[in-house]
Amino acid sequence: MTDAQLIGIAQYAVARTPGKLCCLGLGSCVAVFLYDPTAKIGGVVHILLPKAPNGHSSDAKYADTGIRLLLDQLASKGADRRRIRAKLIGGARMFKELDLTMSDIGKENIAECRRTLTELGIRVVAEEVEGDRGRSAYFSMEDGMATIRTAFSQDRRI
């Protein structure tokens, strides 16, 4: 899986079959994978936080703006919005001992992703979210599958 293009925090990319994209070490971050199975084109955005504040610098850092950005990019490259479906990976709660001093960012990220996708009319067809484990995810533009790897279990394909 070393041939996959790495998408770091607050980055996004679009690829066509047989391209591969990946996000490594997702904790509370969420990888949103949008895919058009007919055109075999897809994209991933690696978001850090739920909602973009006013005057923010990077759209891809936030769920609400990042998903819209990715969808626009996909549409401009030939994907059909009506065919696009989503998979969500990440949003874990890594340090539950710190709940009193900060909110559960992972959970908020997932909630905002779902809200934004619903607004845009995109269906979430699979997800591997929340929990307390970090995940790496590899995305195939050939078949729209996501392979999820953790430090503690067998790979899972969704």
């Binding site: 490594l24 070490g25 509370s28 850090l48 504040p53 900060m102 960012i105 970090g134």
Partner: protein, 204 residues
């Protein structure tokens, strides 16, 4: 940050890093029941986006202990043991030859995290003494997991207000074992300014 400022901050970091590492080594020597010498091998002021790479990549399994200062001066504080060092530590206190970080018992995870907690606190004591200011850490959280996942929370919690990470690499050398630890501080601007101000005379 201007180059001169960055240079001064680095001098200050090196000073507290040496004291903090010395404190941590003494505490760990007693906890682990071994002789330890320490050596601060590297101090950096890194942009947030470069930490994961500096620590060896997002996908390795590390032991991380994290807290936030919640007093007047705010900062994230993180101690990370890279994979081999985490294994060395677990092997040592559980008296096992083979250790798999993906398959630690609860008590092993808890122990390695406690080592991180102790280091974290002693580094903080060094910072606190140097700037002559009380620092109030929240009780820390800990995880043995992918580095990227461990870094997510500090980045998410402070990414909007913090640009740079103070990063210190320390080598702890015993008679038979060697392990290394990273101390990372993500100071909000006010914290960084206070460090500069309080240390201005001695570091100038």
């Amino acid at each position: 940050m201007a180059e001169d400022d960055a240079k001064r901050v680095l001098e200050i970091i090196r000073e507290f890093a040496n004291i903090g590492a010395g404190n941590a080594a003494t505490a760990l020597a007693s906890l682990l029941d071994m002789e330890l010498v320490n050596e601060v091998t590297s101090c950096r002021l890194l942009p947030l986006s470069e930490i994961a790479e500096w620590l060896g990549g997002e996908e390795q399994v590390v032991a991380g202990t994290y807290t936030q200062l919640c007093g007047d001066l705010r900062s994230g504080v993180l101690v990370v043991f890279p994979p081999e060092s985490a294994k060395t530590l677990v092997r040592h206190f559980s008296k096992q030859d083979e250790v798999d970080l993906s398959d630690l018992s609860r008590i092993q995870t808890s122990a390695i995290c406690e080592v991180g907690n102790i280091c974290l606190c002693w580094y903080l004591v060094a910072v606190s003494k140097m700037i002559d200011t009380d620092l109030i850490p929240a009780p820390p959280g800990a995880a043995v997991d992918l580095l990227g996942a461990v870094l997510d929370i500090p980045l998410a919690a402070l990414g909007a207000t913090v640009d740079h990470v103070i990063a210190v690499h320390t080598l702890f050398r015993g008679v038979e074992q060697v392990f290394e630890g990273y101390f990372l501080m993500l100071p909000e601007n006010k914290m960084l300014e206070t460090i500069m101000e309080k240390m201005g005379d001695s570091a100038g």
